[in-house]
């Protein structure tokens, strides 16, 4: 069932299923909207970050529970639930990995448990810097093993950007449901997840280093 497209009260076109920005009425969506539906966006990988921000603030002004603190129980519940759902949708759309991951699933592509592999050339690199990170973790703050870390972090970040550019290329134009290209996207996303984990570890080591005294 497609979501309703106009406000039941004032008839204006709906920008988001949670409320009518025009007349301020809070709405209960008939079913849980997709993250793209929540923001009135076409379900495609390319999302304008600035536009997403603008919409978040625009919708929040009509939906946030702070503006319904003196309203009735039903309205307060709608504001609370709608805001939570909007914010959850934002978290998915604002993060390139999560956005791509969601799209692959929505297009019936393989999940992480279905397709565990990573691109072949990537595996060799993984081994190299896994060892470096391990050595750095074992070493004390200030040791030479740690000196390489900032350069390594920069290299990983640039590798990640390269991967996501690949993902963007494969997802535009939007693939058909179940298309084989989705498996390739999933493999790249597996690599990105690995990179993100490594980058988080490097960040923890960096903060540890800065705190050492």
């Amino acid at each position: 069932m497609p979501p309703r497209t106009s406000c039941p009260r004032c008839g204006a076109p709906l920008e988001t299923p949670f409320c009518c920005v025009g007349c301020g009425r809070l709405l209960r969506p008939e079913r849980d909207p997709t993250p793209f539906e929540a923001f009135g966006l076409e379900p495609r990988y390319g999302v304008d970050a600035a536009e997403l921000e603008l919409r978040l603030l625009r919708f929040s002004r009509s939906l946030h529970p702070d503006f319904f603190a003196t309203a009735g129980v039903e309205e307060r519940a709608l504001a609370e639930e709608g805001s939570a759902a909007l914010n959850a949708a934002y978290e998915i759309l604002a993060d390139d990995f999560r956005r791509a991951d969601w799209l692959v699933a929505a297009l019936d592509g393989p999940s992480e448990s279905d397709e565990k592999e990573m691109p072949r050339e990537f595996l060799l690199e993984v081994l190299e810097w896994s060892e470096e990170i391990e050595a750095a973790r074992e070493a004390r703050p200030g040791a030479p093993e740690r000196a390489r870390l900032p350069a390594l972090a920069a290299a990983l970040r640039s590798r990640r950007a390269e991967c996501m550019r690949g993902v963007a290329g494969l997802l535009a134009p939007r693939p058909e449901r179940g298309a084989p290209v989705l498996a390739e996207v999933r493999r790249i996303l597996n690599a990105v997840r690995y990179l993100d984990r490594a980058l988080r570890e490097l960040e923890v080591l960096r903060l540890e280093q800065a705190a050492a005294r």
């Binding site: 702070d66 914010n87 903060l207």
Partner: protein
């Protein structure tokens, strides 16, 4: 004689809401007046009310400055820094326990209890006494208007249990909490409103009496958006004081035995002396650290230099920058990306703190607003927004700690990430392990560690009412919802039947709803007694004043009053004198009212006489 009442000038602009900063060391309230937030000054000067409670052997507990003055004289019954105990268990406060001169224990339910004169109080109850006092003084300062709704602030880094405890305390105090708001965010609101802050990326560095918070916000076009927050709920001015107390302990340790050093009165005197010295060192390069405990024969005096203090507090200050680095990292920013820095909390008056902050962020911090008052002001702003005052300001805050569930093997499966904008939600799928299993148990934790045991347990959640089905068939969707206060609620639905499952929470270090209810009941009963007792006192005072006024004016007025009126007056006077001394509030009220009625003719006569005398220059007895 009858009273002529003057009409108090009412500020009709005042919205009937207030903001309360419930601090570790001091609390304050602020309200909205004439288009801006204003702190309440109960005595016309000071806004700060010490968060101290003194329980005398008999009678009402004292809260505030008077209570603080009892700290050295009666340390076992003078309670301070209750905020450090909210939502905590004994294990959490183990390191600080020796510094508290009153007995703190834990009951079987994991609730902290403070023993005072044989009665046990939870931190929630103690905080409610402070809130009641602050609220009461604020209402009185505003001419007696009853303001039932308030926004109360908490450290941004307070976890779910600590926030719940604060909500419970407010409920016990009879305050309708509109919102629990984070202190740094409140401060940002106050600065943003004040316009001394241009906006952009703003860091709020909040070092209070017991807690440290750092929040990074993006402030633009009326939207205050928290990007990240970090902190330490056990780091503040109290720790800096303790570092000075260590000087005292080390030096007195030579002459005094261990038990004498641990004497509560001595500890308190030392603590207060340390605080005074620390504060003075912010204004002078050298200050005296001195106190006396006459009944113990202790006279201590020593000079402390600013350098000495700075050396001792340096490790604590450095800890604050660990949190700053984490907040920057979480927001994906570097110090160079920060446009403004705001200082909040009394401890930021220390020159060493200000210097380090300027050094770390590479720019001088804002201090235009009083660091003690800015949080309460911001809370009043938020109260105004919630009361429907304006939609120009939008506050988007975050939850400070990750929320997760304990899985088989004791690991944590993350459900909601830290620094997620609130309100936020996430749904987890569950199923059953045995046929016809109708219930599920799970442990929800808050924190960043990998193992559940290293995180804070919010309590055991018990899910019931799953329709009986073969194992693995039910699809139970459990929705975790963190509201704008930062508090978690959990709801569950079995998806194939659509049936809502029941959720019961047994909080780890908190009160259940039933417990709060029964405490409220008990306090209402006590309140009735206490209320009557204070009414009796007020009536007695009032009657005394009326009697004296009547006695004074009777001689001159006697001949102008008719015999009936005179007789009435004499009867009423006799009745009132007879009732004085008896403590029955109803009798006293009745005789007071009768007396007032009887004196009306006298009052009228005097008024008339005064007016005529004023007009014609004649004396009263010529009229």
């Amino acid at each position: 004689m009858g009273y002529i009442e003057l009409d108090v000038l009412n500020d009709t602009d005042a919205a009937l809401v207030m903001g309360i900063d419930l601090g570790t060391t001091n609390s304050l309230a602020a309200t909205w007046q004439s288009g801006r937030p204003v702190v309440v000054r109960p005595d016309g000067r000071t806004a700060k009310i010490p968060s101290v409670i003194h329980f005398p052997r008999d009678g009402q507990p004292l809260v505030g400055q008077q209570a603080r003055e009892q700290a050295v004289v009666d340390p076992s019954h003078t309670i301070f820094s209750v905020k450090r105990l909210m939502g905590r268990g004994l294990a959490d406060i183990a390191a600080e326990l020796p510094a508290f001169p009153f007995p703190i224990g834990e009951n079987e339910r994991g609730l902290l209890e403070i023993d005072v004169h044989g009665r046990k109080y939870t931190p929630q109850e103690l905080s409610s006494l402070i809130l009641m006092r602050v609220h009461d003084l604020a209402c009185r300062a505003l001419g007696g208007t009853e303001i039932a709704k308030a926004v109360i602030t908490v450290p941004a880094y307070f976890d779910d249990a600590q926030r719940q405890a604060t909500r419970d305390a407010a409920r016990l105090a009879g305050i309708d909490v509109m919102r629990i708001i984070n202190e740094p965010t409140a401060a940002a609101l106050a600065y943003g409103l004040d316009r001394s802050c241009e906006g952009g990326t703003v860091v709020v560095y909040d070092l209070g009496g017991g807690t440290f918070d750092v929040s990074i916000l993006s402030i633009e076009k009326g939207v205050f958006r928290v990007l990240s927050t970090a902190g330490d709920t056990h780091l503040g001015g109290d720790d800096l004081d303790r570092s000075l107390v260590e000087i005292i302990s080390a030096e007195l340790g030579g002459t005094l035995a261990a038990e004498e050093l641990a004497d509560p009165a001595l500890l308190q005197a030392a603590r207060l002396a340390a605080e005074r010295c620390k504060i003075e060192l912010s204004a002078h390069p050298e200050a005296e650290l001195s106190f006396v405990v006459p009944h113990k024969g202790v006279h201590y005096r020593r000079n402390v230099t600013r350098e000495e203090l700075e050396q001792r507090i340096a490790p604590f200050i450095e800890r604050t920058f660990d949190a700053c680095r984490l907040a920057l990292s979480d927001a994906g920013l570097e110090t160079g990306d920060v446009d403004e820095v705001v200082l909040v909390g009394g401890s930021t008056r220390i020159p060493a703190v200000r210097e380090r902050v300027e050094e770390f962020f590479g720019r001088p911090p804002h201090m235009e607003l009083n660091p003690d008052e800015v949080v309460a002001l911001g809370a009043a702003v938020q109260a105004r927004i919630l009361a429907g005052g304006s939609r120009d300001l939008l506050l988007l805050d975050v939850t400070p700690l990750s929320l997760g569930m304990e899985t088989m093997g004791g690991a944590v499966s993350k459900i909601i990430a830290r620094n997620s904008t609130v309100p936020c939600q996430a749904t987890e799928g569950f199923t059953t392990y045995v046929d016809n299993q109708t219930g599920l148990d799970f442990n929800v934790v808050q924190g960043e560690r990998e193992l559940a045991q290293d995180c804070r347990s919010l309590g055991r959640f018990q899910l019931t009412g799953i329709p009986p089905m073969p194992a693995g068939m039910p699809r139970v969707a459990v929705r975790f919802h963190v509201d704008a206060d930062g508090v978690l609620t959990v709801s569950a639905r079995e998806q194939s039947t659509g049936k809502t499952a029941g959720i019961e929470v047994r909080p780890m270090h908190g009160l259940t709803d039933e417990e709060v209810e029964s405490m409220l009941q008990a306090s209402i009963e006590h309140a009735r007694e206490d209320f009557d007792a204070s009414r009796v006192a007020n009536l007695e005072t009032e009657i005394g004043i009326m009697l004296r006024a009547t006695e004074k004016s009777m001689p001159a007025a006697r001949e102008h009053l008719d015999p009936e009126t005179l007789a009435d007056l004499e009867d009423a006077t006799r009745a009132v004198r007879a009732a004085l001394g008896g403590k029955d509030v109803h009798t006293l009220q009745k005789v007071r009212d009768d007396f007032e009625r009887a004196t009306l003719p006298l009052a009228a006569l005097l008024m008339d006489g005064v007016a005529k005398a004023a007009l014609s220059g004649k004396r009263l007895d010529e009229v």
